[in-house]
Assembly symmetry: C2
Homo-oligomer: 315 residues x 2
C-alpha cells in the first residue's frame, strides 16, 4: 500500500509516493505550463491516475492522496480560492478529484497547515503540541498548532500573518498584500530594494547594476554578502519586522517552538540570532524565554510530507 503527497504551487506540482510507513519512494516535479482553472484540476487528476496505474502494474496499490493547496479551502464544500492559480476563485477541487480519481481517498488542506504537518510528522516539530511554522517566501503564511490541534479558523483562513500590522501609519501598498508581507516577504524585499534605489537615487549600490524591474530578493541577499550598504539597510529593516512578527506569535500563542521556512529562510537563516534578539525586545518576556527557534528540517519538502501525512491519516 502507498499514498500520494501532492504540493500544488502557483506554477508547479510536486508529487511524492510514500510507503505506508512514511518513506518517500518516488518524487516528481511537474510544471503547470500556464494551465488555468479546470485545466489544473484535470492535470492533478491525470497525474494521480497515471501513478495509480503504474503502481498497480507493479502489484502495489495507491489508496489515498493528500493535496496541499496555496489558498483558502472551504472546510465544508472543499471549494478552493487560490489567488496564484488563475480561475481558482471558487474551484471545486475536492469534488473534481473525488469524481475523477477512482477508488482513492482524497484529502485537501492549505499549504500553511501542510508545511506544519510535515514538520510535526518528520521534521523539527515532532512531539510539539504548541508550535508555529512561519513560511516566508514570495508570500508569508503561518501554520499554527495549539493544544495539539491544527488551528484552521472559522473559514479555514487562519495563519494569514502576511497581513499583520506592524508599523504606522497605514500605507496604500498594504491593501493588496498586508503590511508584513509588503515589507518582509521575498517580493517585499525586492519591492523595498526598488523603492530605496528610486527614492534615494542610489547609483553606487551593487543593486543599481540590475534593471530595477528585475531585482529579486536573492540579489539583495547577494549584495548583502558583499557588504553593500543599500542591501544592509533593507535586510536590517526585514530583521526588525521578522523579529516583531515572531514576538507577536510568542506573546499571543505562547508556542514551545517557532520553525522558519520558505524560500527566504533559505538565505535569511543566517540572521536567526538577530531576529530572536529583536523578538526578545518586544515579546512577553516569560513566554519568549521558553520558546525555541529552529529552521525547517524538511525545507521545500515540508509541504509535500504534510500532504502525504494527510493521505496516510485517511488511507
Amino acid at each position: 500500500m502507498a499514498v500520494l503527497g501532492i504540493d500544488l504551487g502557483g506554477t508547479k506540482l510536486l508529487i511524492g509516493v510514500f510507503s505506508e510507513s512514511g518513506e518517500l519512494s518516488y518524487k516528481e516535479k511537474a510544471d503547470l505550463e500556464n494551465r488555468q482553472g479546470a485545466e489544473v484540476g484535470a492535470f492533478i487528476t491525470q497525474k494521480i491516475n497515471a501513478l495509480q496505474t503504474e503502481w498497480q502494474q507493479k502489484g502495489d496499490r495507491i489508496s489515498a492522496a493528500g493535496i496541499a493547496v496555496p489558498g483558502i479551502i472551504n472546510p465544508e464544500s472543499g471549494i478552493v480560492w487560490a489567488p496564484n492559480i488563475p480561475g481558482w476563485e471558487a474551484y471545486p477541487l475536492l469534488n473534481e478529484l473525488k469524481q475523477n480519481c477512482n477508488s482513492i481517498s482524497i484529502t485537501i488542506d492549505n499549504d500553511r497547515s501542510c508545511s506544519l504537518l510535515g514538520e510535526i510528522w518528520k521534521g523539527n516539530a515532532r512531539q510539539c503540541r504548541n508550535v508555529i511554522f512561519l513560511t516566508i517566501g514570495t508570500g508569508i503564511g503561518a501554520g499554527i498548532m495549539a493544544n495539539g490541534n491544527i488551528i484552521n479558523g472559522a473559514q479555514g483562513i487562519s495563519g494569514a500573518i502576511g497581513w499583520m500590522a506592524l508599523t504606522t501609519p497605514f500605507r496604500d501598498a498594504y491593501t493588496s498584500c498586508g503590511c508584513f508581507e509588503q515589507h518582509a516577504s521575498g517580493e517585499g524585499i525586492a519591492k523595498s530594494a526598488r523603492e530605496l534605489l528610486q527614492s534615494e537615487k542610489i547609483t553606487t549600490s551593487l543593486l543599481s547594476r540590475i534593471p530595477l524591474k528585475d531585482i529579486k530578493a536573492r540579489h539583495v541577499f547577494n549584495a548583502y554578502s558583499y557588504g553593500d550598504p543599500a542591501a544592509i539597510k533593507i535586510i536590517r529593516q526585514c530583521i526588525q519586522y521578522w523579529g516583531m512578527a515572531t514576538a507577536n506569535l510568542v506573546s499571543l500563542l505562547n508556542p514551545e517552538k517557532i520553525i522558519f521556512g520558505g524560500g527566504v529562510f533559505g538565505p535569511a537563516l543566517q540572521f536567526l540570532p538577530e531576529i530572536i534578539e529583536e523578538a526578545r525586545q518586544w515579546a512577553q518576556p516569560v513566554s519568549i524565554k521558553h520558546t525555541k527557534f529552529e529552521p525547517s528540517a524538511l525545507g521545500n519538502e515540508a509541504c509535500l510530507y504534510g500532504a502525504a501525512h494527510l493521505a496516510l491519516k485517511n488511507k
Copy 2:
C-alpha cells in the same frame, strides 16, 4: 448543590454562588485590604469555607469552586505568578486551596480564559468555536478559543496581547508592559495624556486642569466628550492601535467573533465602528468580512461566570 465562582483581582475578590443550573444566587465583593502573598491565599480559603458552612446550614452543599487568577498558572503544578499581587511570584495557590478547603473540588485558570469562558457559557460567545475575548482595562489580555478549544499555550501564557508589537521604532517604555499596552490600555491612555500635556506644553486642555499624576483614562474619555483636542488626539491614536490589534487577531486566527470587554470597553465601546473600520484597512480581507465584533454581554461579571463554569465542569 451549588458551586462558587471567584474572580481574584489585584485589589479585590468577587465571589458568586451559582446553582447547578448556572443561576447566580448570591454575590459578594471583598477588598483584599493590602493583603500579600500567603495572606491572600488564606483570605480566599476563609471565604470559601465560610460560604460552605453557610450553605450547609441552609441544607445545601457547595461542591466546587473555580478561581480566576490575574496572572500565569503553571498547568502542572498550579503555581501562580501574578504581578499585581505582591508575593505571588510563585505562589502554590492550587495546593493551598486543596489542602485547606475540605470536600470541595478546586479549579484555577487565568482571568483571560475565564472571561472568555463566561461569554461562551452565558454571554455573546455562545455557540462559537473560534472566538476571542479582548480585555482592555488597566492592562490588556486576550482569551482565545480556536477549533472549539481554549488555547493556553505551552506555559499557560497565551493571550498576552498587551505585548503586541504595533509600531516602530522600539521604545524603552515597551520593556515593562509591551507596545500595545503602553499605547492603548487604560493605564496607557493616562500615560499618553501625561506625555502629550508635558511634551507639547498644552495648557488649554480640559486635562491640564487635573494634576498630571492624577490623570486617569476616564478623564480623557470625559474630556473627549467635550470635544477637547488633546483628548481627541489621544483617543484617535488608541482607535488606530485597537484596530490594528483587532486586525492582527483576525488575520492570524480567523475568528467568527471578537468580543470587547474590560474597564476601557466601557467608554470606548462608542468607538467600535471606527475600530472596525481601522481594522478593515489592515486585516486579511476575506477573513474580516466574516468576523463579528460585539461588546461583552456580562461586563465585569464575565470572569466571575467563567470561574463558576470551571467549577461546574469539575463539580
